[in-house]
């Protein structure tokens, strides 16, 4: 009968393995650190020049009473700036996890940008039913009706733009932009964006807002440098 290895023996073996392996790690990490030092940054601003109006409900005259008005337009000013194609040296994007909440009869956030393979959760944080769906060619889906506290998820495998709606509340809509690379950024409240870790080279960037895109704009990133590129969307 073969004696079973004791736990202490296993732990000792693991410690020896770790001690012998440690000196090799800095040598392996060095090329990666050097590569990051060599990359540059693109930053700039997206100006949305057309007027942004709050998402209005359809004026359903058959309703017996009014609904509380939504007046926030800030989320409609969020733009996405992205490379029209990934740098040749770029690694494949790492699939992530994102959340598109349904809250106060709105999708939060209104714009979501993810990489291919990302799973997006759609929790319902309202007291009423919602029915999230999309008829986009990139990823058509219909999650059906589900109540508060429940969530359903969709994996986005193909790059493209997915327009998301609620089948019950026609004023609810959102955009999910799916990229097959990780070179994109959302603008902040002032319209500023920043894309880091860009390998040196020449690229074309596109700015997008509410379904309107700029043409591809060329930009050159030098080794460890910072390039600036502004957009104006009408």
């Amino acid at each position: 009968m073969t004696p079973r290895p004791r736990p202490l023996v296993i732990i000792a073996a693991l410690v020896i393995l770790a001690v012998t392996a440690l000196p090799a790690l800095p040598g392996r990490a060095a090329p990666l650190a050097q590569a990051l030092r060599d990359t540059g940054t693109i930053r700039g601003r997206v100006e949305v020049r057309r007027p942004s109006t709050p998402p209005e409900r359809r004026p359903n005259v058959a309703d017996l009473g009014a609904h509380v008005a939504q007046s926030d337009v800030s989320d409609r000013l969020t733009s996405v700036v992205y490379f029209d194609s990934a740098p040749r040296t770029a690694a494949a994007p790492v699939p992530g996890h994102a959340v598109l909440d349904q809250r106060d009869e709105r999708f939060v956030p209104h714009v979501l940008a993810v990489t291919t393979g990302t799973v997006v959760d759609f929790p319902n944080s309202d007291r009423i039913y919602h029915n999230v769906f999309s008829l986009s060619k990139t990823r058509p889906f219909d999650l059906g009706r589900y109540a508060a506290g429940r969530s359903k998820a969709i994996k986005f495998d193909r790059p493209g733009i997915v327009r998301v709606f609620c089948d019950i509340h026609s004023h609810m809509n959102a955009f999910i932009l799916v990229f097959n690379h990780s070179f994109f950024a959302l603008t902040d409240a002032e319209g500023r964006y920043r894309i880091d870790n860009v390998p040196p080279g020449s690229y074309n960037l596109v700015a997008w807002n509410e379904g309107v895109s700029s043409g591809p704009q060329p930009v050159v990133v030098s080794e460890g440098g910072e390039a600036e590129l502004d957009f104006a969307l009408r």
């Binding site: 359809r58 004026p59 017996l64």
Partner: protein, 404 residues
């Protein structure tokens, strides 16, 4: 219908040019102007169906719900946080524009669900009237309670039971001896296509909503100007006890016979006696990919007893339907509705039968969304009626719907 289809395409193209290019070619959101103070939305639908020789789907003598091109434009003008004006104009088959709704909505406390609406207001009674638009109707036909024309009229009265029984199954064009002698369409139990004029108060608290209104016309005969001395009082109570479940009950009562017709039957000053009283109950449950609705409407009309054999009891009708919708895949659904309209019995000369011919309808169909706001529907109907010239009729129809 070719003209209707052309007009639909012209409308869609015209509307698509109103907004900048977005993710899809046609606008999918209401048009908002004047810094959000004015919001305009629209519904455009064109239905193409077989010839309804039995007038099962007619909403009046000229229009069948299965063969109609309809454009609705709705506008909300927000004067401030408390006061809005709402209006809707409609045209059918490229006819003249008609004001379907036009009322003032006052919300005294911006954060409280308490509203006062005055003008040509939405019907207080029932559930279906909240989803009368083609984009919200899973099928093409309408529930019998809100569309089917009974043989009863507000402006013309039968002189006796025989005359009424002679019009069984002829609600699309009935005529009587008293009042207006011109043949015209009869009354539905509740009109889904005309709105009443008056004042409406709505309050919501938590899971319960209540509405009360006083209007000039009645459920079956809504009016812009009153034609008799009475008013209709209507009320509705609805509750949402759990997510996805809506239960409602409604009631309405008001004089429906015109003063002229009542005077012709029993003399002046008695038009307030001839009332329509209606009760309704409705339920809706939805979850995941299915939706089930049921509604029943009971109506009782009191008409003058003039000649023999007399109409010695109120004329009653009961309409009930159950409908369901199931989403098969994104953009595609199947739907069905089973509907029955029955009538109370009346004794004529040597015969006792229902005062109008009972109708049963089964409609099965489905829809496919080409775009989020462009829907194509197809449905088939099997109609049966226990009287009239056509007692059984199968109809097939298609409808295209665009809304923004």
């Amino acid at each position: 219908m070719k003209r209707a289809l052309r007009a639909l395409l012209v409308c869609a193209l015209a509307l698509s040019r109103q907004l900048p290019a977005r993710a899809q070619a046609l606008p999918s959101e209401p048009v908002s102007i004047a810094d959000g103070h004015v919001t305009i939305s629209g519904d455009v639908s064109a239905a193409f169906g077989g010839a309804d020789t039995g007038f099962f789907n007619y909403t009046d003598y000229e229009h069948s719900a299965l063969r109609v091109f309809r454009v609705d434009l709705t506008t909300a003008v927000k004067l401030n946080d408390h006061v809005s004006m709402l209006g809707e104009v409609r045209t059918e088959n490229v006819g003249p524009l008609q004001a379907y709704a036009f009322y003032l909505r006052v919300r005294p406390w911006a954060r409280r669900a308490f509203d006062i609406q005055a003008g040509r207001v939405p019907p207080t009674f029932g559930a279906f009237t909240r989803r009368i638009y083609a984009s919200e109707n899973p099928l093409i036909g309408y529930p019998l309670a809100y569309q089917y024309l009974t043989s009863l009229r507000a402006d013309a009265l039968p002189i006796n039971a025989n005359e009424l029984l002679g019009m069984r199954g002829r609600g699309w064009l009935s005529s009587y001896s008293i009042g207006n002698p011109v043949p015209a369409a009869g009354l539905p139990l509740a009109s889904g296509f005309r709105w009443d004029t008056g004042v409406q108060v709505h309050a919501g608290a938590g899971l319960v909503d209540a509405t009360v209104s006083v209007t000039t016309g009645t459920l079956s005969n809504p009016l812009f100007r009153d034609d008799n001395s009475g008013r209709q009082v209507a009320a509705r109570l609805s509750a949402r006890p759990i997510a996805g479940l809506v239960l409602g009950t409604s009631a309405a009562r008001g004089p429906f016979v015109t003063a002229t017709a009542a005077r012709g039957a029993v003399g002046a000053g008695r038009d307030g006696e001839f009332t329509q009283t209606a009760w309704g109950a409705d339920a809706e449950y939805s979850r995941d990919y299915y939706l089930v609705r049921a509604e029943t409407v009971f109506s009782e009309w009191r008409v003058p007893a003039v000649g023999t054999p007399v109409i010695d009891a109120p004329l009653r009708a009961l309409a009930s339907y159950v409908e369901g919708r199931y989403k098969i895949r994104p953009g595609l659904y199947a739907a069905a509705r089973l509907d029955h309209l029955g009538f109370s019995e009346l004794t004529g000369s040597g015969v006792r039968t229902t005062w109008d011919a009972p109708v049963t309808r089964l409609e099965v169909g489905g829809g496919y969304s080409i775009l989020r706001n462009v829907l194509v529907k197809v449905s088939g109907q099997h109609n049966t009626r226990e009287g009239g010239r056509v007692t059984s009729l199968n109809l097939v129809a298609a409808q295209i719907v665009y809304w923004f």
